[in-house]
């Protein structure tokens, strides 16, 4: 069946909440407003306000509350209205959620999903247009997921909810309305498994979340020009499925990594380092990264466009590693 990304997320949470009464959704406007982006449409009617909990605007408070509830055996899903507001909850995420299992010598667990949209939409300004996944990936004790398609969003959110660890689940505002095929039957997508989204032998692109769509568009155009690109979506950013990326790279010898986040200390730097370490001998060209520019996101549209990777930059990078430019 064809579903929007938003509907796929809604279905995933709905199915899991029907299955397990320990799961509850908590966040700003998740109940009667049905979510700032309408992801929890119909939830308060079905599950009631006890399990669909509207909060005041206190990210540290309600994220910490959810962590405490997880320690006591519940399975909270925290919706951050946007991932930017997760910065307010960073002490809870980094110092408590990520460390409690370790600090307690395995006595306590924090089965928790923290989800919401990351990255830029259109002209939302510097404080609402950030890709913070590298921050979360840096912290031991967290899993980080950033699906690009409705199918992956549904299957991975179900896996995240069933996981017994804290999982940061990054959506994207511009993906909510995108549509795609979703299996009719019950399914999950395993955490930590990448997918080859398009096969090709000339070069490999690694791209996730919104950037996957950009990479696929670029691959289409390159194909018309005679360059066949293999596009890999890691889907899970941590733990990263390095073997799938390396297998493709060993075939093509050329790699471009596309990410919307800031370049310096970005996720692509880590992926490149890992690939260099695993398959240096297969390198036919230096690995190139296409990233967001190292600036706070400007409001003005032309400036914003210049700060975010676009198709032309991806194509240019692929041609560069292929030596056709």
């Amino acid at each position: 069946m064809v579903l929007s990304y938003r509907e796929a997320l809604n279905q995933a949470m709905r199915e899991e909440m029907r299955r397990d009464s320990r799961i509850f959704l908590i966040g700003e406007e998740v109940g009667y407003y049905q979510g700032a982006f309408k992801v929890s449409k119909g939830f308060v009617e079905e599950f009631g306000p006890q399990r669909v909990v509207d909060t005041p605007i206190t990210e540290a408070g309600f994220t910490g509350l959810a962590i405490g509830a997880a320690m006591a055996g519940l399975h909270p899903i925290v919706e951050l209205m946007t991932m930017n507001f997760g910065i307010l909850a960073l002490d809870q995420i980094v110092n408590n959620a990520a460390k409690i299992h370790y600090m307690s010598g395995g006595q306590l667990s924090v089965p928790l999903v923290i989800r919401g949209p990351g990255s830029a939409a259109h002209q939302l300004g510097a404080q609402h247009s950030q890709s913070l996944e590298a921050w979360f990936c840096h912290v031991p004790g967290l899993k980080v997921i950033a699906p690009a398609t409705p199918h992956d969003a549904k299957g991975l959110l179900k896996s995240a909810i069933r996981d017994n660890n804290p999982v940061i689940f990054i959506e994207a505002q511009l993906l909510y309305g995108t549509k795609g095929d979703v299996e009719d039957r019950e399914y999950t997508v395993p955490i930590g498994v990448a997918e080859v989204k398009r096969s090709g032998g000339d070069a490999t692109i690694v791209a996730y979340s919104k950037m996957l769509l950009l990479a696929l568009e670029a691959a289409d155009q390159l194909s018309r020009e005679g360059i066949e690109v293999e596009v890999i979506d890691p889907r899970t950013l941590k733990p990263l499925d390095l073997p799938t990326i390396v297998a493709s790279f060993k075939k093509t010898g050329r790699l471009v990594i596309v990410e919307e986040g800031w370049r310096f200390c970005g996720l692509g730097a880590q992926i490149a380092e890992s690939v260099y370490a695993a398959a240096f001998d297969y390198l036919d060209a230096p690995i190139l990264r296409v990233t967001g520019k190292d600036v706070p996101m400007p409001y003005s549209r032309p400036l914003e466009d210049a700060a975010i990777p676009d198709k032309a930059r991806v194509i240019e990078a692929v041609k560069s590693v292929c030596g056709t430019q």
Partner: protein
Amino acid sequence: MDRVDVLFLYRQMLLIRRFEEKSAEMYALAKIAGFLHLYIGEEAIAVGAIAALRPDDYAISAYRDHGHCLARGSDPSHVMAELFGKSTGLCRGKGGSMHLVDAPRRFMGGYAIVGGHIPLATGLAFATKYQKLDLVTVCFFGEGAVPSGQAHEALNLAALWKLPVIFVCENNRYGMGTPAERAIALYANVAKTAHSYGIRAERVDGMDVLAVRDLMHKVVEQVRAGQGPFFIEAMTYRFMGHSMSDPAHGHYRTKEEVEEHRTRDPLLLLKQTILSNNLGAEADFIQLEREVGEVVTAAVRFAEDSPFPTPSALHTDVMREE
């Protein structure tokens, strides 16, 4: 007052006192490292408050947590082993002094970012309410945490959702070296902070274990009955420095001030009460000293004899595997 009860309270406080004095010795011998924050002088709060709990109620604390953990009934040997960083420690040596956890005893941990564990306490209380269990959660923190944003967010949520949580503010007058009057707008009555959220609050003499216990009995009953959160401000004093690297007196308080507070030592006060009410005799205290001394000596021996974690433990417990 019951003889068995009061002698039990005395024994608990004495255990914490002697355990911590021994920890300080072990720190001086470099058997214990890192930060070590002693609770000496404040024992009446943990012991009095926890005496009013059921074994299945939750307790959670900040980084000055040895007293709460021992009062909850944790084995002193495993606590000492944790301070030594040994594999037999409560947390297999991964937590240390500031992060003691004893899940079977519902001691949900010590946390070392000031104010950061207060939302966790509201979450434990949220969970028990969600699960329709008649449990309460007790959250211990110093007055230094009261001005933090996380404390205020947690107080608001607890009041808003009538959560069964008891906030126990241990007001020992100093956040490290800063006196309350230079840190807290409502320093003269910290409990008033709770009033601004409509949370009932009461101040208690935190050097008087019986007063703490009696207030807690009343409060636990109300909170367990669903009357929403409660805030206790327990007035106390830390006899030692903020941590082992901070002298007991010097830059921010005088020797005379410390000596004055030592005249209200919670152990001394309870002993006087016991003797004047004929609930015990000197012989009882000699006996308790001997028993506790043996427990502490055994704890040190156990910690000494235990192995350090092997390198293979480094990567376990980062993620829960199943």
